[in-house]
Amino acid sequence: MSLWVDRFRPKTLDDLHYHHDLSTRLKALAASEDFPHMLFYGPSGAGKKTRINCTLRQLFGTGVEKLKIDQRVFVSPSRRKLEINLVQSSYHIEITPSEAGSYDRVVVQDLLKEIAQTQQVDLGAKHRFKVVVINEADFLSRDAQAALRRTMEKYMSNMRIILCANSTSRLIAPIRSRCLLVRVAAPTAQEIQAVVEHVARKMKFDVPPEASLQIAEDAAGNMRKALLVFEALKMQSPDLSGPLRIAKPDWETYCHKVAELIVQEQSPARVMEVRAKFYELLSHCIPPTVILKTVAEKVAERVDEALKADVMHWAAFYELRMRLGSKKIYHLEAWVVKVMCLYKHFTYNFDMSEFD
């Protein structure tokens, strides 16, 4: 039995629960052969992927749900072999070029040309073009993005591209210029609550409104999270009564502990301790940006008003360094030292102005 998130995932644009205006717009666009290239963007868990799938279904009908998963091997100019997963139907193909790391350009160059130069095999297809969905488009390297540019223009008669990204700022202007931008906002607490209640109705049980509201608020706009938590809670206490205890994910609790350590004591020994914890988190594949943000926000919560802005300022500063540099741990650690320093000086009343 699949998880509720998957089982109750809407399949058509009409089934989508929120952003009805957007659904109507997508429907109108999908009706025509002059469908543009698109860039869906918005926070994670807002339902971008679901919406893209619904749009594909609107474009081509139920055929897009017959999926095959293949592995393809690409060879980089330096003769390295790269394996990439392709999810495809007869009408579309879905790729995550970031799987190929810095060789994503090769994937984009080879695969897209290949697709562009083949034609729709199903003569009864509703559209002459095929669609290529590119996941995590904001992680495409500059080279890969550059490789997309002319391809998007040259092969427009038999291919359309749908990019899916969290933010648009990492995409180069020429790519943005070639797409219709589609913003998918996170659902509000009320909208999430409605979906939670809808799922409960489908499963034929009642959920107390306090419970659904609490789940919705805790999810902070992340639909996926809300449904996962909802299912877990239902397993724990079938009647969902009383105040719910929504467990935080382990990594989050762990990050909070790290924040605690930083505020408690500022010493070289403590830095080493924190460093070990960072390694632990990184080895569990928690993205370094998420680690830094979670810890920083917790530290900011715990310190004096006068320090809060600085804590976050240095988080922004070192997060950028982390992107540009290659060893994440250096920058995480640098931030810790910086914050400890600030904290210590603040509590012992040193004048910090010359350290800015």
Partner: protein, 368 residues
């Protein structure tokens, strides 16, 4: 793998009904005289077309200003459709263009003696001068090495091969190459040219557009004609499929273009302690001091809505810079912070962290 069946040879290549083509391709300039604005470039190229003598060229400028269109149109006017194939080599960033390709593919093409003119099947006559053109589109993504390898080729075969380099950032082209070329700067389209091109397309497509809609299109696209055409087409598709069809409104365009609603920007600005005119009276009565928590909350709210932070910052920037009451010093501080954030975002930094950073710094600057 049904998806990858090669295209059957007999299928004609462009069977797409032009009615259904995206307008950006449908209205791509066919001749250099179709190119809007860029007067200087067009004048020089028109002369070159008459004398059929062409220097090496370097086109540069922001996206959607007509660079690719111009060189393709020029090449087509020089050689005609039948000779285009063997006289023009177009390579762009989607082609492998490492140093080995430069040494082999480009060099091989460059050294070939141009073939004799083939008969023109369309009955027209073309100048078809005795040289070939190599178009290196999106040349700013070529490596320094590859560019370096081009230097000799450009010189050695200059008599029979002309190069046209096209890029967004002229500084990414190495100086020895750039200095061998006549440079043509493509500027963002001025409002007048954009407006006339859009009206032309709208008329050809039988779409009603009000002057307000055109103004909104111009504002939202920053001189990028490609973008404004895409917006116009999407808006017209949406409005004509409404039941009953509705006219296109400026608000539709803003929504499509991802412009952040004024209320959202003003709301954020107010949280940062900026007097926003419409609510001045309310603010004057209760000059509430908001702290870190309130600002952080607001930032999270905005991020959840998914607005592009770069877009939001540019609108916040305009609001601050054009503010009637703010002293210049505070404006300058804010502008600096926003500039810093813009750079960080271009480098791929986290949007939420930097919006918060801008928010806090602005708040500090304003409460001094």
């Amino acid at each position: 793998m049904a998806f990858f069946q090669p295209q059957a040879k007999t299928v004609p290549k462009h069977t797409v009904d032009p009615v259904l083509q995206p307008w950006i391709e449908k209205y791509r300039p066919k001749t250099i005289d179709d190119v809007s604005a860029q007067e200087h470039t067009v004048t020089v190229l028109r002369k070159a077309l008459l004398s059929t003598n062409l220097p090496h060229m370097l086109f540069y400028g922001p996206p959607g200003t007509g660079k690719t269109s111009t060189i393709l149109a020029l090449a087509r006017q020089l050689f005609g459709p039948d000779n285009f194939r063997n006289r023009v080599l177009e390579l762009n960033a989607s082609d492998e263009r490492g140093i080995s390709v430069v040494r082999e593919k480009i060099k091989t093409f460059a050294r070939q003696t141009p073939r004799a003119q083939a008969a023109n099947s369309d009955g027209k006559s073309y100048p078809c001068p005795p040289y070939k053109i190599i178009i290196l589109d999106e040349a700013d993504s070529m490596t320094q090495d590859a560019q370096g390898a081009l230097r000799r080729i450009m010189e050695t075969y200059a008599r029979i091969t002309r190069f046209c380099l096209v890029c967004n950032y002229v500084t990414r082209i190495i100086e020895p190459l750039a200095s061998r070329c006549s440079k043509f700067r493509f500027t963002p389209l001025d409002p007048l040219s954009t407006s006339s091109r859009l009206t032309h397309i709208a008329a050809a497509e039988h779409v009603e557009v009000t002057p307000e809609v055109v103004t909104t299109l111009i504002d939202a696209s920053n001189g990028d004609l490609r973008r404004s055409i895409t917006y116009l087409q999407s808006a017209s598709r949406l409005s004509s499929s409404a039941d009953p069809p509705t006219p296109i409104t400026p608000r539709d365009i803003q929504e499509i273009a991802g412009v952040v609603p004024t209320t959202v920007v003003n709301d954020l600005a107010r949280t940062l302690g900026l007097d926003v005119s419409s609510d001045m009276i309310v603010d004057a009565v209760t000059p509430k001091r908001r702290g870190f928590d309130a600002i952080q909350k607001k930032v999270k709210e905005v991020i959840r809505e998914g607005y592009s932070v770069a877009q939001l910052l540019s609108q916040l920037h305009d609001l601050i810079i054009h503010h009637q009451m703010l002293p210049a010093r505070q404006k300058a501080t804010c502008a600096l912070v926003i500039a810093e954030a813009d750079k960080a975002l271009c480098d791929g930094a986290d949007e939420e962290l930097w919006l918060l950073e801008v928010a806090m710094q602005t708040y500090k600057a304003l409460s001094r």
